[in-house]
C-alpha cells in the first residue's frame, strides 16, 4: 500500500511506539492525525513532525471515552481527508504495580478493557467502515505476546490484547474481499515508559528502540497486500534486524 498522500490516525501518539510511528508515517508523506490524552506531550510530537516538514494534527482525547469517538473520526477526516490508515496504539496496563488477577479490582479490569478493547472497537467501527466503502485502507492493532502467553500479573492487559486479536480476526473475515485490511502487530519488547511501568528493573539495553519497531510497521503497511487479512504479525525478528542494521 502506498503511504504517501494518505490520511492516517495514530492513537497513543504522544510517546513510545505511537509517537515513533506518527513520525515515521509523516516522513513517508502521510497526513498524520495524532491522538492521545495529554495535549502538551502531543503538541511536542506534532511540533517535531512539523519542524521536519511533515503534516501532523493533534487531537487530545481519551480513546476509552465513548463521547470522543465521533469527534476523533470527524476532526481527523476534516483535516486529513478520508482515513486510510488507523493505528490503534493507545493502551493502558491498568493498576500499577501490576496485580495478580486474583487481586485485580473488577473496576480496574473494566477500565483496561474500555481503553484497550472497547475504545479500539468504537474507533475502528467508524473508520474501517469508510475504508470498506472505498475498498482500501488498513487498520493496525498493536498487540503483545501477553495476549498468548499467560504471564502472571499481566491478566487485565493480556485479556484485552487477546480480545483485540480475536476482534481483528473476526473483522477480517467479515470484510474479506472488500479491499480493506486489518491485522494485529506484535512489535516485541520496546524501551518505552509502558515497559518501564510494567517491568521497572528491565535491562533497557536489551529492549528495542520504538523507532525501529515503527520502521518495521511501515514496511508491513507497504506490503500489506501480501499479508493474510486478520493475521497476528510478530515483528520482533524484523525489529531486531533493523536494530542490527542501524548499529552496523
Amino acid at each position: 500500500m502506498k503511504i504517501k498522500g494518505t490520511g492516517a490516525v495514530v492513537t497513543g501518539a504522544s510517546r513510545g511506539l505511537g509517537a515513533a510511528l506518527a513520525r515515521a508515517l509523516a516522513r513517508e508523506g502521510a497526513r498524520v492525525v495524532l491522538v492521545a490524552r495529554g495535549a502538551d506531550a502531543l503538541g511536542e510530537v506534532v511540533g517535531g513532525i512539523r519542524s521536519e516538514g511533515g503534516e501532523a494534527h493533534a487531537i487530545a482525547a481519551d480513546i476509552g471515552d465513548k463521547e470522543a469517538i465521533h469527534r476523533i473520526a470527524g476532526v481527523a477526516a476534516a483535516v486529513a481527508g478520508p482515513i486510510d490508515i488507523l493505528v490503534n496504539g493507545a493502551a493502558t496496563l491498568g493498576a500499577l504495580p501490576m496485580p495478580l488477577l486474583l487481586d485485580t479490582e473488577c473496576e480496574d479490569l473494566e477500565r483496561v478493557l474500555e481503553e484497550n478493547l472497547v475504545g479500539p472497537f468504537r474507533l475502528t467501527k467508524v473508520l474501517l467502515a469508510s475504508m470498506v466503502l472505498r475498498g482500501e485502507g488498513v487498520v493496525i492493532n498493536v498487540t503483545s505476546d501477553a495476549s498468548v502467553v499467560p504471564y502472571p500479573r499481566w491478566g487485565a492487559y493480556g485479556l484485552s490484547k487477546a480480545g483485540l486479536e480475536q476482534m481483528t480476526r473476526i473483522w477480517a473475515a467479515e470484510i474479506e474481499g472488500t479491499g480493506a485490511r486489518i491485522v494485529s502487530v506484535d512489535p516485541g519488547e520496546m524501551d518505552t515508559r509502558m515497559h518501564a511501568d510494567a517491568v521497572p528493573d528491565a535491562d533497557r539495553a536489551a529492549l528495542a528502540d520504538p523507532a525501529d519497531a515503527a520502521h518495521a510497521i511501515i514496511d508491513l503497511i507497504r506490503r500489506i497486500e501480501t499479508v493474510t487479512n486478520g493475521a497476528r504479525v510478530d515483528l520482533a525478528a524484523e525489529v531486531s534486524a533493523i536494530r542490527a542494521t542501524v548499529r552496523a
Partner: protein, 431 residues
Amino acid sequence: MSAALTTDLETTPFPHGAIVTAAHGAHDRAQLRPATWPRPDPHAARLLWIDPGADRFEHALVGGLPGLVAPGDLLVVNDAATIPASLLARTANGAPIEVRLAGVIPEMHGSKDDGASRGSWLGEADFARTHGSGDRGAAPGRAPGADGTSGGQATEKSHFTEENRAWAAVTFGEGDWRVRTEDRPAPPVLRSGERLAFEGGLTARIEQVSDLSPRLVTLRFDLEGAALWDALYRAGRPVQYSYLDGSVALWHVQTRYASVPMAVEPASAGLALTWDLITVLRRRGVQLARITQAAGLSSTGDPAIDAALPLPERFEIPQATVRAIDKAKSEGGRVVAIGTTVVRALEGCAALHGGRLVPGRGTTGLRIGHGHRLLIVDGLLTGIHEPGTSHYEMLRAFAPEALLDRAHAEASKVGYLGHEFGDTCLILGSR
C-alpha cells in the same frame, strides 16, 4: 464476504412480511406522522416501492431492498459525515442565540477573500452574478430545474475542509430544538463585524449579513485546522427538530459509512443501510459507489430562507464512482441514488459538463422537479416526504404526480413515518 454474514435477508426479498399491493386511487389526506426517534432495527422500517413504469406502488420493508434492485444495478451513497452544527452562543451584548451552521462557503472563483463567491450564499444579485444568468437567483420562486450549478474543480485546492473558511449560518433567538423553528424567537439584530462567543471558548466574527434574511449570516471562526474542528465537535450538537422525543447524539445521525464531515444534517436515506444489507446487496451483484455531498439545512422556520433552500452545496465525485457509473450504464444496469443529495450532486455535475460526469469537486444549487430530464440517475431511495417540500418536488422528476399523490396518500393513511428517522420510499422500475 464471509459466509458467516448469511442472513434471512437473502432467503426472501420480504423477510419481515408479505407484499401488500395497495389499492389504487386512495385519496385520503391523512397527515404524515414524523418518526420521533431512531429505529433500533433499520431493516424493519417500511419501504414504499413506487414503480413508475407500471404506474403502481407496493408496500415492502427496507430489509426487502435486495429483492427490488437487480444484479448490475449501482447504488450511489453520500458518505459525508454529519457535523454537530447546532451551537449555542452569546452575542457581544450577552444575548443567548443558537447558530446552525449551513455549510462552508464555496469559494471557487478566485481567492479566499473573493467577495463575490461569499456573496453567492447571501442574496439574489450576488448569487446570479456568481452562478450565471440573472434569472437564476436563489430567490423564492426560483423555478425547479434552474441550473444553479458551479464548477469549483479548477480552483478548489487542498482538502475540502482543512482551510479556515467562512461558514454560512442561520441564527435563532434563545431556546433550542424543542421549540418548532417557526415559533422560535428571532435573534437580536446581528451586524457585520459583531463577535460571537460559543461554549468552550470558541469565538467567531460575523462577516456579512444576508439581504435574503437578517438571520442568514456568514461567519469566520477564530481558530483553524484541527483546533477549530475539535472545538466545533466539543461545543456543537446535531441539528434536530421539535418532533423528536429527545436529544440525539452524533452516533444517531451518522450513516454507517460516514467519512469526511461535510453535512450539517444527515444524508438520512443512508441511515437505512446496515452493513448486513450492503453485504447481501453486493452478493446479489449490486454494486456500491460513493459521492460526498454537503447536505444542508432542511428547514429554518424563516420563510425567506426556507424558500431559497437548498442553498448551493459542495460535492466531490471520485474517479472510481464515475467509472462505476459508466460501467453500470454500459452494461444495462441502473444508477440508484441513496438520497436526494446524491441526485443533486450527480445531476448537478452532469448539468455543468454537458451531460457528462467529471470527477472532482463542485458546487450545485440545482433544483430538480417536474419536467427535469435526469441525465445520470435512474432511481431514488429516499424518505417519505410531504407534498410541497423541495424533496417532494424532486420525486416528480422520477414519477408522475398522480402516482406520487396516490402513493403518498396511502402511506400517510397506513401510518408511514416521515423525516430523517422515518420510513423509506424507493422509486425504481421493476426488472
